[in-house]
């Protein structure tokens, strides 16, 4: 309710601190082992960044990420876990991220056959409630 009134001020914040996207080319984690990857990703997430990773994590890395998030919920203020979606050409992954997908596809489609989006759950919730925010974020890039 209050959000409506504040929407102008809020969208100004977009891209500043609360909502930023971290584009992560696969090369950024290619040489890292699982623990280092998880550390890197969790660090960004706790920094309230949404990560767009070119490529995919291994299934084992995905569960490690979930485990890690579960350990942090309740211990880090306002942290509610993560949202994660691996999107590839063949799988039509239309979960919470389906609104983002369209926009990102426009930017990233090409050689990369898969992208993975990972973000703090609280922030993704905000975005899906107000899809305009994605456009704003992407414009800044």
């Amino acid at each position: 309710m209050a959000a409506k009134k504040k929407s102008v001020r809020k969208s100004k914040k977009v891209g500043k601190k609360d909502l930023t996207i971290h584009f992560m080319p696969y090369s950024e984690i290619a040489k890292k082992n699982t623990i280092e990857r998880i550390k890197k990703i969790m660090g960004l997430i706790l920094d309230k960044k949404i990560i767009i990773l070119q490529g995919k994590l291994k299934p084992d890395e995905e569960v490690r990420l979930i485990e890690n998030s579960m350990t942090l919920i309740g211990n880090i203020k306002d942290f509610q876990g993560i949202e994660i979606a691996a999107i590839s050409g063949e799988s039509e992954n239309v979960n919470l991220f389906h609104k983002i997908r369209h926009n990102i596809a426009k930017i990233l489609i090409g050689e990369q056959d898969a992208i993975t989006i990972i973000g703090p759950a609280s922030i993704v919730k905000e975005i899906t409630q107000d899809p305009k925010k994605i456009e704003l974020m992407l414009q800044r890039k």
Partner: protein
């Protein structure tokens, strides 16, 4: 800081014990050919109907329940086990150990539980237990002989949790049967679940009223052959 260290160590020990356990298991299973219990796991998102199906099986063959069912997600927050569940088909007996797991999620917001009428403190406790339950579910993935994945067929099946769980089971070479649950509901779409997981057997059932449960048992016996 200290706590982290201890945790890491105990995790390492846990892993070591597991390796020895697995080795011993492999060694002995060669000696005693008699096939023991099949550890059958029930995995999936919260509220998919894992406990409802496990209860139905237990009711069918033992006449008792395994665990409690609720509209509120994360009802199961600790692994629930029922041993000596013997199913019979065409005169052949198969012994199962049913392992019902806490629903796996990537996020938990305690305020969601308050919408179900829990007080703040209760909701926070439930959330805490739910996070620990999820970690436990993940730990147990290694220990399963076969797994039933429960998917609520009224929801979008392309959820990352389903994909992550199945990916991990495939990597561990653990056979999987996908159950598209809640076919009694209007919004149910079993075809969509099949479309999302074309390489897997998918059985549509209602764990609640038992619709199509015979086909589920067929699928279960087929699954056992893949172990």
């Amino acid at each position: 800081m200290k706590e982290t260290l201890i945790n890491l160590n105990s995790k390492g020990d846990y892993k070591m014990i597991k390796i020895i356990k697995n080795f011993a298991r492999r060694l002995f299973s060669g000696f005693f050919k008699k096939r023991g219990e099949i550890k059958l796991g029930f995995y999936g998102s919260p509220n998919a109907g894992k406990t409802s199906l496990a209860n139905r099986i237990c009711q069918d063959w033992l006449g008792e329940d395994l665990g409690s069912v609720s509209r509120m997600p994360h009802e199961t927050r600790k692994i629930q086990i029922k041993e000596d569940v013997i199913l019979e088909k065409d005169g052949k007996k198969i012994e199962f150990k049913l392992i019902d797991t806490p629903g796996i999620a990537t996020k938990i917001d305690f305020e969601d539980f308050m919408k179900f009428g829990l007080k703040r403190k209760e909701a926070q406790t439930r959330a805490k237990e739910a996070t620990q339950g999820i970690i436990e579910s993940i730990k147990w993935l290694d220990d399963m002989d076969a797994v039933i994945i429960l998917i609520d067929s009224t929801l979008n099946p392309y959820s990352q949790v389903n994909i992550t769980i199945i990916g991990n089971l495939v990597a561990r070479k653990i056979p999987v049967l996908i159950v598209a649950n809640k076919i009694d509901l209007k919004k149910s779409n079993v075809k969509k679940v099949q479309g999302a997981f074309p390489e897997y057997d998918v059985v549509g059932i209602s764990a609640k009223n038992g619709d199509n449960i015979e086909e589920f048992y067929e699928g279960l016996f087929k699954l056992v052959k893949k172990i």
